[in-house]
Amino acid sequence: MKRVHLPFRTLLVLLPVLLVMHTARADENIAVIRAELDALKAQYETRIQGLEQRLNAAEQQLAQKQEQQQERQQDRMPIEPAGADYAPVGNSYAVSGSQYNPAMGIILNGALRAYENDPKEHFIPGFPGGGEAGLADEGLSIGESEFVFTANVDDWFYGRVTAAVEQEDGDFDTSLEEAYLDTLSMPANTTLRFGRFYSSVGYLNDKHSHTWAFADQALPYSAFMGIHYGDDGIQARWLAPTDFYLEVGAEVFRGSNYPAAGDAHNGLGAQSLFVHIGGDVGFSNSWSAGFSWLGADARDRNSGDEDDPLRFDGDSDIYIADFIWKWAPNGNIRDRNLTFQTEYLWRNEHGTYLLPGATASTSANIDSNGWYAQLIYQWKPRWRAGLRIDGLSLDDPGTQFAGTELDSLGDDPLRYALMFDYSHSEFSRIRLQFNRDESGLKSDNQFILQYIMSIGAHGAHQF
């Protein structure tokens, strides 16, 4: 390599040039450094980004792992509750030794009644009341308190007892309203009922007063059945093997209660036949209808004035047509529902009457009929309103009965009822009812404030 010798003067001359050049070089260096720095910066940014990405990825992986772990734990979670096997879990029957006691329910029923007319003077011309018919006591009174006991006797029989405590003219009176047994294991869709029970004719006849939609019974049942006909008897019911509901039944009773009397035919004094049908229309509507006959033999049957009664010997034939239509949106009765209910009763009584004060009896063949129609609307949970119209009519019994209690005196018995009730729960109900009663000779306005409370066993939701 050849060394270059530069003369001193040349150096002096070159110095400024070199200096200039040097400065130029320094400028160039700054630019380079800047560039390098920028490059580095860019590089680091990419690396940081890379690192960040890796961190994210790692975090995601960890989360995934945790999730998988959780899932595995979930898989290990029991798919059956611990300790459950498929024998009945018997934690409800070991409570006490009293589990065999019958289900017991008590219905407390009382009212405050106000009548414009004197209820003692109330009577419906032509329809001398029998049985428990007549207006309930005015003022405060506990009407009818019921004690209900029910249980399966064994796998063949179910038993039910209803005892009622009533106040009549200041005296308390305990009566056995119902005491019957139903069979549970009869073949061919039949059931026998025997003991004392309300006849299954019509719709209202076997309904207890606490299930009524009004505080009082409809006029035709009051007039013809003595509120309702119950007696000692035996009943057979058969369900037809059809997809819709068709029930046919027959009953034989002792015949000691109104409209029967006197235990005729050696204590087989009343008979009945009935057929009930029913079904649904869509989910929101359901209906039932029925036709019944009750033939009651009356021997020395007293009716009308208690001290000086009419006495009847003969037959009372009663035919009943009933129809019930219920509507509830989707069949869910809890919120809103509407019930229309109507019945028509025809009665023929033929035989002889011994009129008060008479010594010889007078033969009679009297036709009469009665009806009611009612509409009950529950517009929101707990609240219901209802309207009922009921009436009676009587064919002329003949001149021989003119002026007696069997003479209608040209009266057309008719009554209008309006009620509101509130049920705080399924077990309590408070009802306010107003009656415009034109069944007697003098029109009457009647107010009833009633309570119905049920304690003990859960009541049945009858149709």
Partner: protein
């Protein structure tokens, strides 16, 4: 000519008799979930119908004539039990004139008797509402309970219809395999719901809560069976404004107004869950019932909703 007609009639009669002998087992379920569950196991060997639909409150049913006609021909009765049907089933049992489904017979099956029941009251007093002495009857909202009931149903079907016993065993096995997979899937899906606070209209969902770990903080009914009152809703409003919950839940048959009211004032979302098969348009079998239930719960209060 006559011979042919007589032969035809004879053949028809014998066919009717033969088909009668092989008639399907009639299952009368009180609620839709039990009809669906019986169908899973019994398949074509049974005809299962439900006395109630998903839009009816099973507490408040009347013993209608149509139900009497249906219970008359039942071979197997499947109900939730624990007094859920106390108002109407005893009446149907007595009016249906059917000895096969009376208590104690193989045809009488009360599903809740076979699972661990929650909320068995220590004190029975109607001042506390309409309590069920045997515990909360709404057991179908925990799918694990259905596994247990399925086994009981299979056992009963085998007793009632011995000829098809093997088929019921197969049906049960197939159901158990498929169902346990589904239950595991729902549990995975709903894992994030654990510990969420919910408000219930009625105590219809305690088994769902127990299953998924949801926490009930209040009910719209002040006492079981007592409709939500304005006073109680106002109390709840104060409570929920102080300590909010994630969701207000009701069944399709419960009135939406109380939960809407509370929802509007608290900002807490409210929803109806299907509760049983048919409770929503897309909940048309037991699998979709829980698919829909979990989906709604996740939609309303899942992790993406916070």
């Amino acid at each position: 000519m006559y011979y042919r007609i007589i032969a035809k009639i004879g053949l028809t009669i014998s066919l009717i008799v033969a088909s009668g002998a092989q008639a399907a087992v009639q299952v009368f379920a009180c609620e839709p979930e039990w009809a669906a569950l019986a169908g899973e196991i019994g398949g074509d060997n049974i005809v299962a119908t439900s006395a109630t639909n998903a839009l009816q409150d099973p507490h408040y049913i009347q013993a209608r004539p149509s139900l009497i006609a249906r219970i008359r021909k039942a071979d197997l009765l499947i109900c939730s039990g624990s007094d859920l049907e106390a108002g109407w089933l005893p009446l149907l049992l007595r009016k249906g004139n059917n000895p096969k489904i009376q208590p104690g017979k193989p045809g009488y099956l009360m599903a809740s008797q076979y699972v661990n029941r929650l909320e068995i009251p220590t004190v029975l007093d109607r001042a506390q509402g309409d309590l069920h002495a045997q515990g909360n009857p709404h057991i179908q909202t925990d799918p694990r309970n259905l596994t247990i009931v399925a086994r009981v149903i299979a056992q009963r079907l085998q007793q009632i219809d011995v000829a098809n016993a093997a088929s019921y065993q197969q049906g049960l096995h197939a159901f158990e395999v498929k169902w346990s997979k589904a239950v595991a899937k729902w549990q995975r899906q709903a894992a994030s719901l654990r510990g969420k606070k919910v408000v219930l209209h009625h105590k219809s969902w305690v088994y769902l809560n127990y299953w998924l770990g949801l926490v009930e903080v209040a009910t719209l009914e002040s006492k079981p069976g007592v409709p939500p009152s304005a006073a109680h809703l106002n109390e709840l409003l104060v409570q929920l404004q102080a300590t909010p919950a994630a969701l207000i839940i009701r069944t399709p048959y419960q009135n939406a107004r109380p939960s809407d009211w509370l929802s509007k004032r608290t900002g807490i979302p409210n929803t109806a869950l299907p509760f049983t098969v048919g409770g929503s348009a897309d909940a048309n079998d037991l699998y979709s019932l829980f698919d829909v239930t979990i989906r709604i719960l996740l939609d309303k209060m899942g992790p993406n909703n916070e």
